[in-house]
Each structure stands twice: as C-alpha cells, then as structure tokens.
Subunit: 191 residues, 2 copies
C-alpha cells in the first residue's frame, strides 16, 4: 500500500513535468527530485523513463475516462455535455497558455520521437473522439457523428495552439462562442 502510494506519487509528478517541460526534457533525476525519493527507492518502482511514460499515459487514460463519466453524470443532455468539452479551453485556460494542450503536445512529441508509446498517446484523443461521437449520435446525428466529433476536437487543438502562442483570452472566448453557435444549429428543435 505504501509502495503503491509512492508509485502513484511518482506518476503524478512525472505527469506534471512531462506536461510542463516536455517528455524529452524532463529528466529521470528531475522526477526523482520532485518526489524527494532516494535513487534506490525510485528504481524499485521504475528503471527507465519510458516505463514512467507508459504509466503516465495509462493514468491519463484512466483520469480522462473518469472525467467523461463525471460529465455524463452532471449533464443529462448531449449538447450540454459537448459544451463541457468545448469550454475546456476556458476552464484550463492558464495551463494551456503556458504549456499547450496536454494531449496534443504529448502526441506531437511522441510522433517526432518515433516513440513506441505514440499509439497509446493518440488513444487519449480517441477517448474524446468516441465520447463526442456518442453525444452527437444521441443528438440524432448518426452518419455525421464522427466527423462532428473530429471537428470539435480540431477546434480544441487549434484554439489551444494559438492560445499558447499568443496568450489572447479574447480570441479563445470568440472561438468558443463561434463553436457553440455552430453546435446550436446541430441541436434538433424540441417538438
């Protein structure tokens, strides 16, 4: 139990460092220092940075699934759920301005490193894609649901990239309003 708590602490510290500094830059030593562990204790849990990366990605997948379940619990209507996703770029605004989108920047880095974890990192996008597709399907968009899900994901990536580059909150608000306007036209009128 103490062992698994330590492991979780390492994964949480590495998750944050990979996000804030990038996977390549965040060193094994920096992660050990962040959790204040001796090298021996640290090695007991992880021997290579790639092993920590795998644990971080699996942890992000689990946290994302839990967050999506929570959004489902908190909002019964599919369009309200989609709005929750759209507004992430506002909710997580400060982090995104400093470090970009955690999913997009990790996936891009894995691609450049030709890293074997690339498909698992991309699976984070797939979680959101499938969840958004299910919401659009519940709104009655069946054939187009996946294309709509990708459109919303592309919005989030575009806004995150430019928010990170320019730090312009008005731009983020404008794009959120624009996409919510687009979403409004996709909600079937109540009978």
């Amino acid at each position: 139990m103490a062992g698994s708590a330590t492991r979780a602490q390492i994964v949480a510290a590495a998750d944050r460092l990979f996000y804030e500094q990038g996977f390549e830059h965040a060193s094994f030593t920096a992660i050990a220092e962040a959790v204040g562990l001796s090298r021996g204790n640290f090695y007991y849990h992880f021997r290579r940075k790639d092993e920590i990366l795998s644990a971080v990605i699996e942890s992000r997948l689990e946290n994302t699934r839990a967050m999506l379940r929570q959004w489902e619990d908190e909002a019964a209507e599919p369009d309200a759920r989609i709005r929750r996703f759209i507004r992430i770029v506002v909710t997580n605004g400060p982090d995104i301005r400093d470090f970009g989108c955690p999913v997009g920047t990790l996936t891009a880095e894995m691609a450049k490193l030709r890293h074997p974890a690339r498909p698992r990192a991309a699976a984070l996008f797939t979680l959101f894609r499938d969840w958004l597709r299910d919401q659009f399907a519940a709104l009655g968009h069946h054939r187009e649901a996946d294309a709509m899900a990708l459109h919303v994901l592309a919005f989030s990536q575009g806004v995150a990239a430019l928010s990170n580059a320019f730090g312009d909150e008005d731009f983020v608000r404008r794009e959120v309003e624009r996409l919510e306007g687009w979403l409004d036209t996709r909600i079937p009128a109540a009978d």
Copy 2:
C-alpha cells in the same frame, strides 16, 4: 562564400532535424553528422545549439516572407490567396501527418522549455496572422479582419494536430471544404 554556403547548409540540416525530431532531441552531433562536417569546421560557424536555433528561426521567417510574396504574385484576389493558405494542410499533408505543423510544434516546444527564442518562434505565427488579416481587410473586412485571420490559423493548427494523431486524409479534406465554405460566405458579392 564557401563559409556562408557551409553555414546555410548547417541551418538547412538543423531546420529539418528540429522539425522531424524536435529541438530538444536533435543533438549538436546529429546536425554535424547530417552535414558531414568536422567538429572544428562546425564550431567555426556555431558553438551552441541555441545559436543554430536562432539561425533556423530567422531562416524560417525569411522563407515564409518569400513564400507569402510568391502567393501574392501568383494570385491577385485576396480570397484566392487565403485559399492557398487553407490548402497548406493538403499540400504539406505527408510531412504534417508524420511531424505536425513546423510552426505550431516549434512554438509549443519553446513554451515548454521556457526558451528565450519563444517570442521569435511565435513571430512565425504573426507573419501568417498579419498576412491573412491584410487579405481579409482587402476583402472589405476591417474591424473583423484580425479575428478572421486567427480563425483561419486556428483551423490550420487543429487540422495539423489531428492529422498528425490520426493520419486521416478524409478528415483533412472535409475540414478544408468546411473552411472554404465559410470563406465563400465572407466574400462580398460582385456588383
């Protein structure tokens, strides 16, 4: 003359390696090997990777300015010029699928590294932003021209990120068509 040709060769090799592997991962040694230079000859031109980075960014800025001037020469109408930009995600499709957008991924990496070159990297975005704004202004959109320019830039970043993650050409084509449809509604009708 031979000296400046060698320098340009180093910058071109580093530009490609920074794009394909990321700045942090691409080593000084890998760049020297890519141009086949002795360490002494290489050091004559650059002593630190940060110096190469600055030269790469200035070179990208110059190449981008030249490309935008060429687009202006090749298309007289502002909407045709904007379409040239929109279609970059198709024109550069294979590179984007493998390595993402060169501007977006470099800017994101500079942010995570808290690198002093971050503002110069973001200036690459500003070149496109200002150029797109000028085209929208020429179409008669004055107060909204900058917001429209950012909307088009966000599109390019969103499409590049998801193309890199999923490698789905149909998605890219759909988003290009969608944005071209949006652009069509922004072109004033001919009298």
